[in-house]
Structures are given as structure tokens and as C-alpha cells.
Symmetry: C2
Subunit: 129 residues, 2 copies
């Protein structure tokens, strides 16, 4: 394993009214966690006034967050997972569909790539992560 | 304003024992939130067995997350803030110092940059975000 985690950064535009509905945001988050094959440890949702919802799911495999700007039809989300059995890209797809985004920019960052300067003498150990 | 949020991605290596201590992780997170000039809405911390800590702070301005791998001296963190008065880079610096990282890779992503294809006809409105 060359990295410890995958961090998917999700920009969704042209989203529908669902992104201002606490219940629908929660549903989308739970479905996304399920699609990612991740385990939910904690879910916290906050509604802002006059609009906007933030939701953060703590996962056994890291986290999923959502921040919505209904006034722009915009959602900023990210899904961070570790382990070889999780599918953060599947979570991103669930969010795109459930929020009715017309424009999606989804990119993935590799997290936990040991700097070469620190890996000397321990590549084998790290390879077993 | 050309973007709605700033997302700072933080890779810390060579960290000390603090990253396996729930109390010290919580302290670092609270200090980081304070340094970022952000408002804490909720803080959740989970300790893994046999090691590792995950902490997620929900902020009025978005979120801060930390995931630690003590066996590698590694911390994956991110700080996402919106608004012009927050300083996510200051939070990153607090985490680097409190965890005693010997190697830090800190990069910033602009979030909520409206796609050009969607901005037509509404640049002025968006500029007032």
C-alpha cells in the first residue's frame, strides 16, 4: 500500500432544494456512507439561519462532510477513507445524484504518502500498512 | 470574493506520542479552532484500538478533522473555513507544533469557485458572497 487514505473532494453546483433540508441531507449522507462501504460512528447535522446545512459523519474509516450553500445551489463535500475495502468515489456519486447537481467536480487526493526522506530504512514496514 | 471557502489539507509526519492521546488531540483541536478564529459547534473524538484517534470539529464556518496513525507518527488533518475573518492556515500551524511534527505538507484548496459555465449572467451576485 503506497498511501494510507483516499480523500475525495467534491464540488457540486446546480443542486436542488434538497440541500436546504436537514432530513434530506441526512438521508443522502447515510446513503453515501453505505455506498462507500464505511462504518458510521457519529453523525452531526447543523442547520444555519436563514439557510444552509452542515453535516459531518465520523467513520471508522475517517470522515464524510457536507456544507451547503442553497443560495448558490452549491455543496462542498469531502469523503476521506482508509482501508482497501472502502469506495469513497461511490459516496461522491450518491451525493451528486441525491442533490440533483447539474455540475460536479470530483477529485481525489492520496493521503498518507510517506515522504521519501522519512521512508529510508522502513519501506517494508510501511508497505504492510 | 472569488471562492466561498478555503480548505487546508495537512499532512504531518514524525509526530510524537501526543497523537495517540485523546486528551492531547482534543486540546490541539480546540487550540487550532481558536487560532483559526472559528466558532466550535460540536466536537467528537473516537479512540481506536489498539491505537489511533479520530477527531472532528464542526464549525460555524465548516469543519476541522484529524485522523492519527501513531504507528507511523502520521496525522492527516484538514481545516475547511468560509468567511473572510477565519485563518485556517493558523490552525494548521497549531497542529504542526502541538503534535511535534518533523515534516509537514500543508496545501490549500479553494472551494466554491463557481464554474465559468454557470457564472454567466450572475457574476455580480456571486461577487457579493
Amino acid at each position: 500500500m503506497e498511501h494510507l487514505g483516499r480523500h475525495v473532494i467534491i464540488e457540486l453546483w446546480g443542486c436542488g432544494d434538497a440541500i436546504n433540508d436537514r432530513g434530506l441531507v441526512e438521508r443522502a449522507m447515510r446513503n453515501a456512507v453505505h455506498a462507500a462501504n464505511a462504518t458510521l460512528l457519529n453523525l452531526f447535522i447543523h442547520e444555519f439561519s436563514p439557510q444552509g446545512v452542515t453535516g459531518v459523519a465520523v467513520l471508522a474509516e475517517s470522515h464524510l462532510s457536507i456544507h451547503t450553500w442553497p443560495e448558490y445551489g452549491y455543496v462542498a463535500a469531502d469523503v476521506f477513507t482508509c482501508g482497501s475495502t472502502t469506495k469513497p468515489e461511490a459516496a461522491a456519486e450518491v451525493l451528486r445524484v441525491e442533490f440533483g447537481a447539474t455540475n460536479a467536480d470530483i477529485r481525489e487526493l492520496e493521503r498518507g504518502v510517506m515522504p521519501a526522506s522519512m521512508a529510508q530504512g522502513r519501506p517494508r514496514e510501511f508497505a504492510n500498512a
